[in-house]
């Protein structure tokens, strides 16, 4: 990952965390998945986002 790409990703994660609109589980998942060399598939990412919404209603 180049310096510029790292800067964009860091700014994005910081903005996500500061927004308060995304759960900490999802924010952590994004950091974990987007920082690794091999990006996740869209399915993996979507699953992580869904899982991060909790199960209170079920």
């Amino acid at each position: 990952m180049s310096t510029i790409e790292s800067e964009v990703l860091a700014a994005f994660l910081e903005r996500i965390e500061a927004s308060g609109k995304i759960s900490s589980d999802v924010a952590d998942g994004l950091q974990r998945m987007l920082i690794r060399d091999k990006l996740p598939s869209a399915e993996e990412l979507a699953r992580m986002i869904t899982a991060g919404q909790g199960d209170a209603l079920a």
Binding site: L34, L45, T50, A58
Partner: protein
Amino acid sequence: VIQIDAIHIEEFRGIRELDLQLGSKSFVVWGPNGSGKSGVVDAIDFVLTGRIARLSGTGTGGVSVLRHGPHVYQRDNAESAKVVLTIRDTASGQSGVLTRTVKTAHTFILSPDTAELRAAVALAQDHPELTLSRREIIRYVLAEPGKRQQEVQALLKLERVDQIRRLLVAARKKSSAEFDLSTEEVRTAEAVMRRHLDLFTTTELLGPEVTTAINKRRAVLGLVPLDTIAIDTDLRADISDDGPAFNKSAALRDIRALTTGITEPATLKAATGQLLAALDELTADPDILASLRHHGLVETGISLVDGPSCPLCDLPWPDVQALKAHLQAKLDRSAVATALESQILTAAAAIRAELGSFIGLIQTVCPLAVIDGEGELASRLRVWGADLTSVANSLTTVDAAAAQRQRITTDILATPADVADGLAALQATITAKPDQTATSDAKTFLIVAQERWTRVRLARARRAKASTAQIAAQTIYDTYCTVADEALANLYKTVEDDFSAYYRQINADDESSFRAALEQSGGKLGLSVDFYGIGMYPPAAYHSEGHQDGMGVCLYLALIKRLLGDDFRLAVLDDVVMSVDRNHRRQFCALLKNTFPDVQFIVTTHDEVWARQMQSSGLIGRKSQARFHGWTVDGGPVCDLSGDIWDRIDTDLANDDIPGAAHKIRRYLEAATADLAESLGARVTYRADANYDLGELLTAVKGRHGDLLKKAAASADSWNNTHARQRVQDIKDQRIKVIPAQECEGWAINKLVHNNDWATMGRGDFAPILDTSRQLLELFTCGNADCGSWIYVVGPPGKEDSLRCNCGSYNLNLRCK
């Protein structure tokens, strides 16, 4: 970050063996086209990256580093083709040797193999764009906006920014699809529930219709009605778990079936009749039974007959044929027996099936008798059922069927006494009971309703979760786009500003207000540039090709500066600089030298004037050059590696090569006086073909130099600067010594220029010419060995500010107080 101290190239591309000493300073390789300069660029590209850019991309199909990296004579000996760099890491100050051979191009040898040096090499390896060829510079300028976006993002290593953007788009779509699916699940679950409740409304399922439908069944069961029904309400609340509900009509049907079966067992009687008939036939011929029993034995015996003795009993027979005929007669009789056996077993199976039906009815009626307190009847039914089961299970062989003959003949059912009366009494009792079908239906209704209500609840929960996930995915995507767009906009603004500033520096004389605009939109990167203040247009619209090339170099420098920042310490420019038009070369050299003072530029050019320009401007040191004269397949580049012209001339003299030395000094004087005429602003008669005479140029340069010294003296006097006054006087004194001596030898110079009289000269004749020429040019050269640039005038004619060199060691004020 590495810089290059030295290069050793062996059997690589067009080079057999070559050593260049760069000393981590900028360096120029110059010579005519086809002299092997690009082989040096390929070698640097290869040793740093393991690849050769020239051998990849469009139009290079079938060409590879392994097969075409080695010199053509070594094409089957890839190991012999290697490049060795002596490098220096600018961050740690460490030096090392980096070696890569074509045979093992994917790896390299580093000595010493330290973490710092390895990191520096890895950085260079990740940045093949450090090597820029002429054909590449224009791709950023003239590309279509979509392609430019790709090229620029690839150069700036921004592919991942777009990859993540696309990934988030795909994840958002997945989340939306998941939400749509969960919505459909809710719709289906609610439809199933609505159908069960017999509702045809499309209103919210929690409405009063649901409560009404549920409470109606609860009332049948005598349960408390529910006030309201929430998604988590238990619709079965308070239902007693007292076993299966009693169904009167079903019970009466079962009792009647058993009673009818006892009194009118027609099917059973037919089956027993068939069985008894077959058993009678069997009893009538005892041999048939024996045949049946011996059938298998005889069949085996026939297959074992191999002589006139019986294989079963060893009795001797007259011959084999007689023995076999005897056994075959036995088998024929047993065939009749087999058919009879089949009849018996078929009839027995039919009886077993009938008895099974009876047993099933008994097992169904038995609980009814228990419920109604008919314990004795229930007991009798259980015993009877067990008896019938025993009889049915026994009817599986001919012998067993024969053994049951007595039971079958008399009454196979053997219905116990009082069972028929007991069943009649039970039927009467149940007939008198109230009908419980409605309660059973209500209970079943509520149980099913609860299952379906649970399904609705779970489907709604999944939909709610999918909904928040969808919103989250959208928020994530929007946030990323915002951040990425801001970052890229800032980045492109920086690049735009730098690009504009660089271009203005080069073209300060006629485009001092130049500006460029990089506009990102929808995956495209538009570029428009100012055209002499008239408007913003695409680069190719009005600017000349030379200007477009200049823009390409400037944009490349702006991009690479943004990409590497302080790590930008090395660039290889392969014949790139010749794109800059002649009038702006000095400014271009100044741009590289002043804006990127820490960068080692390795430049190739086929233009000698350019090479000298780079040296005179101070971008390239006097000895930091290699001149390629030509190239042969056998020997590779024909080159002159002694960097300084005077060193090369001295070498010629040492070798008694007067013609060589004369040729060099003639060409050098021509080029040097042309440079000096420009840098000092000397006046010569204009020639449209720019083919100025050496003598005319030399006279103009000397005259202008004298005039400038007069201005410097006047300035020193006006400022009463003693030191400056003395400095000017020293230079004048030197002029007085040098110029007459040079003019004294001018006849020889003219001969050198116009004739071939040097052919008759000896070393002694030539030495004074060389000395006076050198001393003359030193008058116009900075004395600082690290600088060595020509002096030049700052300021327009008539308003000259100073006479100075690149490093400032030579600096005379020309302005008076």
